[in-house]
Amino acid sequence: MVDAARQPLIEVKTFTEVEKVEGYVGNFVVTLREKSKYVRADRCNGCGACTKACPVEVPNDFELGLAPRKAAYIPMSQAVPLIYNIDMDACIHCYKCVEACGALEAIDFSMEDKLVEQEIGAIVVATGFSHFDPTPMTEYGYGRFPNVITAMEMERLNNSAGPTHGALIRPSDGKSPKHIAIINCVGSRDKRYNTSCSNFCCMYAIKNALLLKQMHPDAELSIYYIDIRTPSKGYEEFYDRARESGIRFIQGRPSEITEDPDTHQLFIASEDITLGKVIEREYDMVMLNQAAIPQPDQNHMSSVLNVAQSPGGWFMEYHPKLRPMDSPTDGIFFAGACQGPKDIPASVAQGSAAASRASRILHSDSWQIEPTVAVVWPDRCVSAKGQACGICARACPYGAIDYTKGLAAEVITAKCHGCGACVGECPHDSITQLHYTDAQVLAQIRTLLAIEPEKKILAFRCQWCSYGGADLAGTSHFEYSANERGLRVMCSARMDADLIYEAYRLGAGAILYSGCHPQDCHYITGQISGAKRAARLEKIFERMQMSPGRFRTEWISAAEGDKYARIINEMQATLDAIPEDVLKAEIERLRPEMSKRLTKMGEVPGVAQAMAQVDFIVDEMIGKEKGA
């Protein structure tokens, strides 16, 4: 902590929140909200005279409310930086602190939150985790029984810097407890709350038991556990040490804690798997070892940073094995528990790893980004012919398109992230996306639907989420119908209506229009463009009296492999329920309608030429199938 504050190249900004992240790798612009401390950092010398003078006392969050603090405060004596804060919610405006501060004049009640912008090359996200509040688990009585405490409360109670200076006392009577129980997996590995394992709490329970045993050798400690997990170096030996020191390990998840209301003694009912029976034991104090959960503002941060979340809410890495520190956004990296619960050694290692990933970029003079950007055909743009339009500029989530009536729209390449929203929205087919041109995508659609198109489920997927979801379905071996044919574009925003019409014209049985959940979109609002278009298409197909379910819109994250498989299987069931002759008749009936909507497609540069060539590929495919 102190090292970070002392390092001249680190600017520590506490009491500061990230408001907005714009830009791209190497060139982010981050807007920070420096919340007002009402104490000027350049003047405060950390003497603490204001705290002494302050007459207001409120619970100290840092001590989990176990000790008070003043309205003029620092959260703990080792705070870094050592700058005092005025808690304006608690302040009674007596100005005694101002008097106490005197000539320093560090306290400034007129201070306001300040928004500052910083230009940043790479970002490391290390926002950490939060603790599960066991109050909803009424069977354990937390909040009702004073001697049932959480792990973090225990942490402060047996800490020499804590409110009791390290003296462990029972909250009910201030006496030193002798019989202490620790219950593991409180809110974790529990289908009602968090199904996953919180990673470090087994070791954490052992640590607390050992510490208590060291300080109070006559104390009797029991740890209730489901499994003890000690996979890292030196951990199993630590567990052995605890057992040898006389700490009792009881395998069984307690069903209930009851209390004697007069003595506040606690009784834990549980199974003991080793004994093979149900037991009840009496304790003076019980510590609930809480689950690690995502931060309360994790969803908000996910939107600000434009990064996705795994099941359970943690930030989702680009690839769990190959790129564990990378977010899907180039130039943004994760470190520590924000990506999933982890202990201190793993968090420290990840901090270094993320720094190393970021420094690859920061040590370079320039960085390369993919050229899958949008390009305008100026001769096709109606604005150049004097028509008012600008649809592309409005569709762009990044303001990367310059639109002036009378001039052809122009893409500012460095700002373009390559989602293809402008391409999907342009009603005049005047923009294309490199590497995902209409000719290229149409060539794929034609080949995928070359043989028995009516049996096929054509799945349009975005690169970041639903393509990843389909990958995960495979990696997890969730089986789904082999009639699915997948097609990748960068974002659902690129899924041009023409591509869908063409697929139906070719006789596609069903089409899945899929992408990220709105909050996960890699391109800020790309998914919103895609979703609006999908909703329009749904209405059009309904008016055409297309059988329900032949066009389906679904948002599937890269973590939802099971959902991907389920949806494809449901779509297969929908197709199976339509008699073949009925389906074929419907395809024939709608073919002219689809053709009618595709009049402009042939004019798109390269498309007619490409389609003539694809016909040869399709002929070969069909010929082969007939011959087989």
Binding site: A4, F62, V80, A354, L362, G606, V614
Partner: protein, 211 residues
């Protein structure tokens, strides 16, 4: 960026060259070959217009697989490569790098995902999986036919990092960056850095102090 790096005239145009496509169908050990016979995909792809070379390989990503592709580019005068193997999320950078080493523009390589999105998901239906693997390979061949060479876009880099969160991971990241002479802004929403770790007493397994 003073100049727009995309030369608007050529990049979106229709390719002018006659396609000479090499198709590489990966076994991935038994991951693909355990469900479908890759040789059948090879034979099917070999007859598609524009394909001048079609062959299976035990592991396309291994040195031997990559060497085969690189040698073939010279030997057969390939100007497009299709790799029918795993997910682009796994190996697109690998095969782009591979063809680039042989002097081909990396954007002239296209992958068909016949593992994650085919054999792994359709183990119950090997016949359906084979049909799908052929279709996916044909679609990659069709797309490859119309690929144009593209150059990566170079952007400048601001030499400053931001670390969001001043807990143990964030502090360590900030220190590591600063010690490499990179200026860092360390942002913390609480009034002090330290995070959860600052609240802890001693830490396992060595029982040393947390602060």
């Amino acid at each position: 960026m003073s100049e727009d790096p995309i030369t608007k005239s050529h990049a979106a145009d229709f390719p002018q060259d006659e396609p000479r496509i090499g198709v590489y169908v990966c076994h991935c050990g038994s991951n693909i070959a355990g469900v479908i016979p890759p040789e059948e995909v090879v034979e099917f792809a070999g007859k598609l217009p524009g394909v001048v070379r079609s062959i299976d390989t035990m592991y396309a990503c291994a040195d031997s697989g990559q060497r085969l592709i690189k040698e073939d580019i010279a030997k057969y005068g390939l100007n497009r490569v299709v790799v029918s193997a795993c997910s682009v999320r796994m190996h697109e950078p690998t095969f782009r790098g591979c063809v680039a080493e042989a002097g081909m523009n990396p954007f002239l390589m296209e992958m068909a995902n016949i593992r994650e999105q085919c054999t792994w998901a359709h183990g119950h239906d090997p016949e359906g999986a084979l049909k799908k693997a052929k279709d996916l390979t044909a679609a990659a061949v069709a797309k490859a036919t119309f690929l144009t060479p593209l150059d990566m876009i170079k952007v400048p880099v601001t030499k400053r990092a931001m670390v969001i969160g001043g807990g143990v991971a964030g502090i360590n990241a900030a220190l590591d960056l600063a010690e490499q002479n990179i200026p860092v802004t360390l942002v913390e929403k609480e009034p002090t850095i330290g995070g959860v770790m600052a609240q802890l007493n001693k830490t396992f397994p060595t029982m040393d102090c947390s602060i």
